[in-house]
């Protein structure tokens, strides 16, 4: 598989027009995460109410893989309970690292399958999810 195959169209589309990006004025939680080796950064904010991720927004500076992952992640998780989101995080991580099946609720993120062939880029795909993990630990 070549690098070009990793950049599936759906990834490029999300990277160029990311969903749910921007500030979240009424956020209950915000976290900042960086990949120190490459400088990619994300500020992920959430409105958590009664254990539900009512809304997620982020501001990020990063490559197509990290941006697309943040875009697809927020799109899939908004409205989920924190417990369900934690299960999604586990599923996505196992999908990338252990090559296991992705939870059907994360269908679109299957486009990141190609990243598994490029170990250096797995951290790009995981950046937003690591931010999510911090959010889930709070409150």
């Amino acid at each position: 598989m070549s690098v070009r195959d990793m950049y599936r169209e759906v990834i490029l589309a999300h990277a160029q027009d990311p969903l749910h990006s921007g500030k979240l004025p009424d956020a209950t939680d915000c976290v900042h995460r960086e990949n120190t080796s490459c400088g990619d950064a994300i500020d992920l904010c959430a409105i958590v109410k009664d254990g539900v991720l009512v809304d997620l927004r982020y501001e990020s500076a990063g490559c197509a893989i990290s941006t697309a992952s943040a875009s697809m992640m927020t799109d899939a998780l908004i409205g989920m309970t924190k417990a369900d989101a934690a299960a999604m995080l586990a599923s996505f991580r196992a999908f990338l690292i252990e090559h296991s099946e992705l939870d059907p609720k994360l269908e679109e993120l299957d486009a990141l399958e190609g990243v598994r062939q490029f170990p250096a880029r797995i951290k790009c795909a995981l950046l937003a999810w690591q931010a999510l993990e911090e959010i889930l630990k709070k409150t």
């Binding site: 690098v3 950049y7 490029l12 160029q16 400088g39 990619d40």
Partner: protein, 405 residues
């Protein structure tokens, strides 16, 4: 200049089925056969510890190690070989001055003047020292064209005890006016430390003519192995400095109550040094001298002019820095494509470039770009490789642009 490409075995390999186009020379240079052979020969014929044994091999290894020091001294026009301290790399050289000189002679409130374009290795040691002894840090700003803002140098130098800055930028390509800054610094009694990591392969270096007090550089950016570099310092300054690491080889005499230190450079070379690497550095310097640093500088100028003509032809490409005095280092952004993606795509075409913050985050902030792509050339690159880069950039652009439609 003669055809030097055949001197570098790695340049004939392919990457993903394409000829390697190595444009990451600011990160590390490739190694000529002369250097690879010197390492091979050393381990096959001479390997022994230095400055210790009285047997044939140890004497030969010691002679070769000290011969390398003489070669490096001549290469930078040091007054004497003892002014060359072997270190691991530029970073260690800079840290050695911070620990051995600045920690000893500076006190709370003394000002160290740095610049906004510095590599992290010339910022972080000073942050550490500031937190330990309370020195004050001040930074010269960078103009939009990538030159240093020297408009009010005299004011910037007020209260300054040490100025530390890079000879050539690893991002902007800018070659800084070392002599001008050094003279102004000396006029107020400040010492001058120069980070020569990028400068040393780009031009002949004469530390006396530059007018600095220390000059640090890495071997691996100079066609030599990794793990070896040098700190040149004026001998009387080295003599005044405290050691950085304690151990074997750096002492005069050790008793249980205390030790006395050896003279420089041994004082700063505790423990078994990087012997083969130092010999490799000597071989690299011999190799470069056989071509001529003036010829290398002229070749760099030709490549730089060609790149500055071709790169702006790529739509959406923004070069960082346009200093008139510059080396063949080109950091840029390409609209719509993150540098990491660009680097990954170019690798597919056999082209090696760097992407990221280039260990100069404050400079990236200054130009509003957290990450950039960087193509950096050396004298063994050819104009056709710049053409290959431009073609690949166009291809990447098309691939990302097609998604919108």
């Amino acid at each position: 200049m003669r055809d030097v490409r055949r001197d570098f075995p790695i340049l004939s390999r392919t990457v993903h089925g394409k000829p390697l186009v190595y444009l990451d020379n600011a990160a590390t240079s490739q190694k000529p056969t002369a250097v690879i052979d010197a390492l091979d020969r050393y381990y096959r014929e001479t390997n022994a510890n230095v400055h210790r044994g009285l047997h044939t091999l140890s004497e030969a290894a010691t002679a070769a190690y000290e011969d390398a020091r003489r070669k490096v001294a001549r290469f930078v026009h040091a007054a004497r070989p003892e002014e060359i301290v072997f270190v691991r790399n530029t970073t260690e050289g800079l840290n050695l001055v911070a620990h051995g000189w600045a920690r000893k002679f500076l006190k709370a409130g003394d000002v160290v003047l740095l610049t906004e374009m510095e590599h992290h290795s010339n910022i972080v040691p000073w942050h550490i020292l500031r937190d330990q002894i309370g020195i004050t840090l001040r930074f010269l700003r960078v103009n939009d064209d990538g030159t240093l803002d020297l408009s009010d140098l005299d004011a910037a130098l007020e209260g300054v005890k040490l100025v530390s800055f890079m000879h050539a930028s690893n991002v902007l390509g800018t070659i800084n006016p070392v002599r001008q800054i050094a003279d102004a610094a000396h006029a107020v009694g400040a010492k001058v430390l120069v980070d020569g990591a990028q400068g040393v392969l780009q031009m002949p270096v004469d530390v006396g003519a530059l007018g600095c007090d220390w000059y640090a550089f890495s071997g691996h950016k100079l066609c030599a192995p990794t793990g070896i570099g040098a700190l040149w310092g004026r001998y009387e300054l080295l003599e005044a400095m405290d050691p950085f690491l304690g151990g074997g080889d750096m002492i005069e005499s050790v008793r249980l109550e205390g030790s006395t230190w050896a003279e420089p450079p041994a004082r700063f070379e505790a423990g078994t040094p990087a012997i083969s690497e130092a010999i490799g550095l000597g071989a690299a310097v011999d190799y470069l001298c056989s071509i001529g640093m003036a010829e290398i500088q002229a070749e760099d100028a030709t490549l730089t002019a060609y790149a500055l003509e071709k790169l702006p032809q790529v739509p959406g490409l923004r070069l960082l820095g346009s200093a008139p005095q510059r080396g063949p280092v080109f950091a840029f952004t390409l609209a719509g494509i993150h540098p990491h993606d660009l680097s990954a795509l170019l690798d597919e075409d056999g082209i090696a470039i760097r992407a990221g913050h280039h260990c100069a985050q404050p400079l990236g902030r200054r130009f509003g770009v957290p990450a950039s792509a960087r193509a950096s050339l050396a004298f063994y690159n050819v104009p056709e490789e710049i053409d290959a880069l431009v073609t690949a950039l166009m291809g990447a652009r098309e691939m990302f642009a097609n998604v919108r439609s």
